[in-house]
Every structure is written in structure tokens, then in C-alpha cells.
């Protein structure tokens, strides 16, 4: 009985470790990077449609815009005070001017929601939407992201 309990405890602890390893700890480069990759993937899907590389798919456009809107909303949570060090790609300006940083993320989220409300109905409209959304990416990276390689 006791052996079983120990085995179970070890197993649970092991699962816990695996869990932590999968979901990177908040406020780290990996966690931030994973969120940005979600946005990048969604943007990529929309650009592929805009360019005619993939057929227009309303559901995919909807899902991509939802991903961008929701991810941008939670992204600033990864930059709480106390997480300034350890991520070489995050500029200190994020913590020097958190209001601007949050406002930019909020704007991307709002822009994506707005596009979502009037879903682009063809590849050209998807392309136009990506132009609007893409300007947010570049603007924020210009000020707050540091190139490390």
C-alpha cells in the first residue's frame, strides 16, 4: 500500500515537471516567444490566402483573427514588473514605458477584433486587413524588440 502511494506520488510529481516543461514559465523568453509565434502563424495563414497560395476559407480567417486578437490581449501579462532580466530580445523600454507597450498590444487586439466584426470576404480584403494589422507588428518591434542573432 505504502509503496503504491509513493509510486503514485512520484508519478504525479513527474507529471507536474512535464507540465511545467511544456507550458514555459510566465515572463520568460520562451513564453513570450511562443505567444508571438501564435500570432505569426495566424498572420501567415492570412497572408497565404491574400497571396492566393491557399484558397479563401472564412473559418480559417475567423480563427486567425481571433487568435491575433486574444493573444495580443494577454501578451503584456508576460512583461510584469520583476521580469525585466533574462530575455535578451525584450528591450528595457518595455518597462520604462509600459503604458505605450500595453497600448500597442491593445490596439493590435482591437484592430483584429474590428476586422473580425466585418469579416474580410475575399483574398483582397484579407490582404488589406493584413496591411492594417501588420503595421502594428512592425511598429511595436521597432521600439520594443531587440534583435539578438
Amino acid at each position: 500500500m505504502r509503496l503504491k502511494a509513493i509510486a503514485a506520488a512520484v508519478l504525479v510529481a513527474g507529471l507536474g515537471v512535464v507540465g511545467v516543461a511544456i507550458a514555459a514559465e510566465e515572463g520568460t523568453h520562451d513564453a513570450r516567444s511562443a505567444l508571438m509565434k501564435k500570432v505569426g502563424g495566424a498572420a501567415g495563414a492570412m497572408v497565404a490566402i491574400a497571396k492566393g497560395e491557399k484558397p479563401y476559407d472564412a473559418e480559417l480567417v475567423k480563427a486567425s483573427l481571433t487568435t491575433i486578437s486574444e493573444t495580443a490581449k494577454v501578451f503584456p501579462d508576460q512583461f510584469k514588473p520583476g521580469t525585466e532580466t533574462g530575455d535578451k530580445a525584450a528591450s528595457p523600454k518595455i518597462w520604462e514605458d509600459p503604458a505605450d507597450f500595453k497600448a500597442r498590444a491593445a490596439k493590435l487586439s482591437a484592430d483584429a477584433s474590428q476586422v473580425l466584426a466585418q469579416l474580410p470576404a475575399d483574398p483582397a480584403a484579407v490582404g488589406a486587413a493584413m496591411k492594417t494589422l501588420g503595421a502594428n507588428c512592425g511598429g511595436c518591434h521597432e521600439k520594443f524588440r531587440i534583435k539578438t542573432d
Binding site: M36, K37, V39, G40, G41, A43, G44, V47, K88, A89, S91, P92, G134, C137, G138, G139, H141, E142, R145, I146, K147, T148, D149
Partner: protein, 305 residues
């Protein structure tokens, strides 16, 4: 810093021991004669605008923080921090007093291609004439014509803040003697595509890509064999990436990926340009696609680093 300073001093002393007069003779500002610039005719303003965006003049010469059309007023004022001190970017708007409104084409051309100021003194290579020296006279003439169409600004830029010995312009003759030339940066294969050659012209000349992407030695000259191999970010943290085919990132992009990036700002995995490259990309996006394809073709043709 101290060691660099001492070495620089020693170097300077050495040069003067060899012969101050000789030094001046060899390193005096070397402007092209007036006649060189005399017969270029009416500038092609459309081409001048394209040269303007290739060079990205606005990135340094527009008022810091300006947006949209305000960027076209080249009032100067940006403070460029460097290991040698702070350079304050001058006003190059057509204003007669504060800008370059009274400059002749010969004066402008010699600043661009020889690093010689209107009054005949050496310019600091923070103004990338060591790249612009590769530009054609026609492009310089067209660019000058285009700049004259832009709005005037009365802003008077601050003087550079450089400690001794970097504040001695005469010593820049020594810098030029060591580093300044208008030769190709890389020797391309003999039978190379015209597109690659065009790309070489854009990247090595007006585009001045190497000014950030190439590592520098202690006196600010390009390291031999380091062309476009990436360098520390002069503005602070991080790195300016290697953009040769040997690069971990850009090296894996196709030619089309590179052209696409320059046009849209998106990398193949839908990251975007960041830092000072964000504005460089916005400038380059004004160019016709074939020009961006030429840049991409050249970047695929340069040696691995």
C-alpha cells in the same frame, strides 16, 4: 576605452613623426573638380526620389519622432551615439541658412562621394560617404534635384560632441587613407547576372547596408572579410544580423523571401523587421519590386561568413 584611446594617440603620434607635411599631402580633403559635376544636365526627379528611398535619408535626417509627410522635412537633429562620441545629424533641407539651400551640385556631390564638406573640410564617416562613393554621378545629381523639392526647415543642428582626439577633423584624413575607397566590396563571379550587379550597386552604394551589417575595427573601419557578416548594435543592446548566405536566419531564406521581406516587413515565418530595420524596410518598400529582387539576388551571391 582607455586602451583604444592610447592606441589611437600612439598611432597619431607615429603618423606625425613620419612627417606631418607628408600626412597632410596624402590625406588632404580630395574633392572632385567642379568640372566633374558640370555636364550632368537636368535631374530626373522621379529617379531622384527612388535614390532617396534607397538611401533612407529620412531615417537620420528627419526630425526624431516625426511621422508621415513630416518626415520629408530633413531638419536633422537626431543624436547618433557611437563609440567615438555623439554625432548630431545636420539639417539637409533646402533652407538657405540652416540647410543646404545654397549648395552647388559639386559641393553636394563631393560630400556624397568624397566626404568633403562645403567649406572643404573632411566629413565624419558617420555620414556614410564610404558607401555613397559607389553611387553614379547621375544618381547623385537626381537625388540632389529631388532634395531641393522638399520642405525647408530653419532648425540649426547642434555641433558634434566628440572627445579629443576624435574632434580633430584633420585626423579624418588618416581614417580615409586607411579605409575610404570606391572599389567593390566583394568580387563577384565573372559571369554574373545583371540583377546581381544591380543589387551590388544598391547594397554597396546608396543603400549603405554594410554600414550597420558589417563589423568594424577599433577605428571604425570595416573589418576585412567581414562584409555583411553582422555586428553589435551601435545603438545599444543586441546585434545587427549576418545577412550573408551563411547566416543562421537570413541564409535560410530564399531570394523571394528576402525580396518579400523588404517589400512587406514580414519574414518567412511571419515575424517582422524590428529596431532600426523597421524604418529601413519602410523606406525600401517605396522601391519597385525588381529593385528589391536585385538586392535579394546580390545577398545570395555574396560570400558566406
Amino acid at each position: 576605452m582607455v586602451r583604444r584611446f592610447v592606441r589611437f594617440l600612439l598611432c597619431l603620434v607615429g603618423v606625425f613623426v613620419i612627417g606631418g607635411a607628408g600626412f597632410y599631402f596624402i590625406t588632404a580633403p580630395n574633392a572632385l573638380p567642379e568640372s566633374h559635376w558640370a555636364n550632368l544636365g537636368e535631374p530626373d526627379l522621379k529617379n531622384g526620389e527612388m535614390v532617396f528611398w534607397t538611401g533612407g535619408c529620412v531615417s537620420c535626417h528627419a526630425a526624431p519622432g516625426s511621422e508621415g509627410d513630416a518626415k520629408l522635412t530633413l531638419s536633422g537633429g537626431l543624436a547618433l551615439k557611437s563609440p567615438f562620441g555623439i554625432f548630431h545629424v545636420p539639417n539637409i533641407s533646402p533652407d538657405e541658412k540652416a540647410g543646404i539651400g545654397t549648395w552647388t551640385l559639386a559641393e553636394f556631390g563631393n560630400a556624397m562621394k568624397r566626404g568633403v564638406a562645403k567649406n572643404g573640410e573632411h566629413l565624419y564617416p558617420s555620414f556614410p560617404y564610404n558607401s555613397y562613393a559607389r553611387m553614379s554621378d547621375k544618381d547623385v545629381n537626381d537625388l540632389f534635384g529631388f532634395l531641393k523639392t522638399l520642405p525647408k526647415s530653419g532648425n540649426v543642428s547642434a555641433p558634434h560632441e566628440l572627445p579629443f582626439p576624435y574632434n580633430m577633423r584633420l585626423a579624418l584624413g588618416g581614417w580615409k587613407f586607411l579605409y575610404f575607397n570606391s572599389e567593390p566590396r566583394v568580387v563577384l563571379a565573372a559571369k554574373v547576372d545583371d540583377k546581381v550587379k544591380r543589387g551590388q550597386y544598391l547594397v554597396e552604394g546608396a543603400g549603405h547596408c554594410g554600414e550597420c551589417h558589417t563589423p568594424r575595427d577599433q577605428f571604425g573601419g570595416f573589418e576585412a572579410d567581414g562584409w555583411l557578416a553582422g555586428a553589435p548594435n551601435p545603438e545599444g543592446q543586441g546585434r545587427i544580423p549576418d545577412i550573408t548566405p551563411g547566416s543562421k536566419t537570413v541564409g535560410s531564406w530564399s531570394q523571394e523571401d528576402i525580396a518579400n521581406y523588404l517589400e512587406t516587413g514580414f519574414t518567412p515565418d511571419f515575424d517582422t523587421a524590428g529596431g532600426s530595420m523597421a524604418e529601413v524596410q519602410r523606406n525600401l518598400a517605396h522601391l519597385p519590386k525588381p529593385e528589391l529582387e536585385a538586392i535579394a539576388a546580390y545577398l545570395k551571391a555574396v560570400p558566406n561568413r
